[in-house]
């Protein structure tokens, strides 16, 4: 967008009146737009969160891309292709929104490829069976929807608008996943077992997608104050569990949590303890597929270098041509 080149007030004290007006604007539920004044820390937080979000969409193509050539029917293959293409589109919507904060696309790509920027831990898990396509759509996209719906009201305008577009498309992702699970759960014993195993693999990692528990979440409080975030990690996680458990029961599948049970008093499901140590390990780079995922992105970037070079030369030639035509 037309805001590039803004520089942060690095190390400079930010004027109290501007800070107060900024917060008042947010409290009035007015959106912050690219060229509006904003505290450097707000900008930094958004760049971190939005670029992580965009990277997650891009890396998120890999676990499902794994099954495009082996989808069981042509119909499934077309659906999966459309879904993976959507993920690329989602990445682009959010990258373009992130660039309005004055950071370049090259820099964002570089931060992903050098491992400086993170992406959602869920994509570092393998997808060994077709049923994982079902479990991912149903649970991973389901959890993403829980996270993203409140982001449609985030205080930063371009982020909120990109989320509106994305949420419209996510619903297809979740439903196609649940439909895959439905067909398997109503199929042969072997298919049913395959669906159950995929649920077993995906359940806990998808609960971890909501981030650490509230007491350990270091970014939460400020993000709530800035209305980037609207609900706490634990609240969203609970909402997801409450919505998902009946869907599993409907299919006759068992959630792999022996402590899971309905609590009449609270009106929510109680659940077993989440192993956040696993989450931190995966974030640190020690998940089952971290190296493979990053390497796949690096390979794609390197083998696509000639396309970028050709596009740059073409741009040069086109602008020279336009100039000579205008002259």
């Amino acid at each position: 967008m037309y805001s590039q080149g803004l520089t942060d007030a690095k190390g400079q004290e930010e004027p109290a009146d501007l800070l107060a007006e900024f917060q008042a604007k947010i409290d009035r539920e007015e959106k912050i737009e690219p060229r509006d004044w904003m505290p450097a820390a707000y900008r930094k937080t958004l760049i971190r969160q939005m670029s992580q979000h965009a990277h997650s969409e891009i890396v998120g193509q890999l676990p499902e891309g794994n099954w495009i050539t082996r989808a069981p029917t042509l119909n499934r293959k077309m659906i999966l292709l459309a879904k993976v293409q959507d993920e690329a589109g989602h990445g682009l919507y959010i990258y373009s929104a992130t660039e309005t904060l004055g950071v370049s696309r090259d820099q964002l790509t570089d931060e992903l490829l050098t491992g400086k920027a993170k992406y959602s831990s869920i994509f570092n898990y393998p997808t060994p069976s077709w049923a994982d396509m079902g479990a991912i759509g149903w649970l991973v996209d389901g959890a993403a929807i829980m996270n993203q719906v409140p982001l449609c009201r985030a205080s930063y305008g371009p982020y909120a608008r990109s989320m509106v577009r994305i949420c419209k498309e996510e619903s297809f992702h979740q439903r196609q996943g649940y439909e895959i699970m439905t067909v398997l759960a109503r199929g042969s014993q072997a298919q049913k077992d395959m669906a159950q195993r995929a649920l077993n693999r995906t359940w806990w990692p998808s609960l971890m997608m909501f981030g650490p528990s509230d007491k350990d979440s270091k970014h939460s409080e400020q993000s709530m104050k800035w209305k980037i975030k609207r609900f706490s990690n634990d609240d969203l996680r609970q909402k997801f569990i409450d919505a998902t458990v009946p869907q599993a029961e409907h299919l006759g599948l068992t959630i792999p949590d022996p402590d899971l049970k309905w609590n009449e008093e609270t009106g929510h499901y109680d659940h077993g303890e989440i192993d956040f140590n696993e989450l931190f390990q995966v974030i640190k780079g020690n998940g089952p597929c971290n190296k493979e995922r990053l390497q796949a992105r690096i390979n794609a970037h390197e083998s696509g270098a000639w396309v970028r070079e050709a596009a740059a030369v073409f741009q040069q030639l086109q602008s020279e041509k336009n100039k000579s035509e205008a002259a």
């Binding site: 037309y2 682009l92 660039e99 696309r105 608008r161 577009r165 498309e169 596009a311 740059a312 741009q315």
Partner: protein, 93 residues
């Protein structure tokens, strides 16, 4: 390597509506920008027409002067119909 040019994308959802800004993308030239905009922003029939504009050609008002810039419109209440009270007998106008 230098980045490709940035284009702003505007889409008309259906005839009768204005083109509306939807986001941006990088491309070598306007044709590539149009093609990419179609693939990225209209996968579900979100549009019947697309405009792409090089971002550097957009001239924008300065948000820091928002108040002064739009001030002339602020004290002209007589430009609105509600400024003129109507007698009860004349119900709608």
């Amino acid at each position: 390597m230098s980045e490709l040019k940035l284009y702003e994308v505007f889409i008309r959802a259906k005839s009768g509506l204005n083109h509306r800004h939807v986001g941006s993308l990088h491309a070598s030239d306007a044709q590539m920008a149009l093609l990419n905009a179609r693939d990225v922003y209209t996968r579900r029939k979100e549009g019947v027409s697309i405009w792409v504009v090089e971002a550097e050609h957009v001239t924008a008002s300065n948000p820091e002067q928002e108040h002064e810039w739009f001030d002339p419109a602020e004290d002209k209440v007589y430009r609105h119909p509600t400024f003129y009270p109507l007698d009860k007998e004349v119900e709608n106008m």
